[in-house]
Symmetry: C2
Subunit: 220 residues, 2 copies
Amino acid sequence: MPAGFSVDEMKRVDEVVEKRRRIKQGELLFSSGETFTSLYAIRTGFFKTCVTSADGREQVTGFQMAGEIIGMDGIVSDRHNCNAVALEDAEVCEMPFASVEELSRELPGLQRHVHKIMSREIVRENSVMMLLGNMRAEERLAAFLLNLVQRLHARGLSQSELVLRMTREEIGSYLGLKLETVSRAFSKFSEEGIIEVKQRHVKIIAPEALKKIFNPQTYF
Amino acid sequence: MPAGFSVDEMKRVDEVVEKRRRIKQGELLFSSGETFTSLYAIRTGFFKTCVTSADGREQVTGFQMAGEIIGMDGIVSDRHNCNAVALEDAEVCEMPFASVEELSRELPGLQRHVHKIMSREIVRENSVMMLLGNMRAEERLAAFLLNLVQRLHARGLSQSELVLRMTREEIGSYLGLKLETVSRAFSKFSEEGIIEVKQRHVKIIAPEALKKIFNPQTYF
DNA sequence: GTTGTCACTTGATATGTATCAAAGACTATT
DNA sequence: AATAGTCTTTGATACATATCAAGTGACAAC
């Protein structure tokens, strides 16, 4: 994944990948409390990560797709601090963190890459905090949809059509809303002709309108 | 800060600290968009970090005190992605990130330490997401107070008394509440004899009651 | 001591989202 | 093709927090 490596270096990075692991839909890649050993690069499939409070409330902390790295929550305490659940059949590369650290001591490019991945996660969570703390339901959903298509488009998929891998409840958990509120926001967007929704199939008709909802001030 | 170094190693870690910088109350240590060069270790004082949306809404993303590291948001894009504001006169150590990376390639202990700090921030933000997404006003404030005293106590200060360095509005921004709601929650706790509040001076009378509010299920 | 400013508290009301409830739509199983 | 189960939509109502407004208290400057 990191660019700018020689053939030899690339080979060594490849060797860090210990093995591939297949995860079926609904299964856990890792769970909270489990000993941390590895980061995982998602090759195919779609995950959610979530934390659970002592009294059982669940908060989805992110949705991850092919090419993204999960497991960094485990580094601090040598135990995972969240659950990672496959939302569709998935395949990941297991990268023992000790090997990642060892090799990144030798390859500054890899080291920098690891740092950037963790920093990106911090910055992403900052913007989720902004969503949860300041935005209204429709703004949250607009931001969520725009973020999803943008990431899917970066993977060669459509800019305008997407298939949601998660339920309304999971979207709601991520956005700090109840599933009914998510459903109503979808319906509202649909009525306004901004999107077309058919179950989990979403077609974005008016991306500009979504952006306007997400961030009204930019448009006056 | 990291333990388990030899005298020589400790000396080299010390050398990474380029210079000290004093920040007056209300001033910025760094701001969003600014070029990222360094992490900062807080020696004394108290900071908030916050992000601002395009339409001017502000979200406080954290409060940081002596011994904590800020600036990791800047690594991913070589630009800072949040503002760091001193809430009281402060002194920080500037640690050029290039030097940190260089030295941590030689000292596995330092490397691990850097990784843990970033992972800790990811995990912290996960629990803030839980707060913002699932908890009610009083639960949020209870969690906030418990977290603050716990961190202050770890620095040798009282377990039960604290002086807030931030306004009700800043607490509210962090917790996704309006300042009036924060104020009402303080008053409620005070009426119930859980805390004593006198402006920014807070005395925790019944920590168990706070813990119970934060997490009702644990107590039945 | 007086004035001004800013932070905070408290009350009344408004509003957005949650909750409760029921029905409809899709998927998987048999 | 029928059935069960899950997910989703929609309506009616409840509730927590926001908003608006006024007043109080603390601190700094003069």
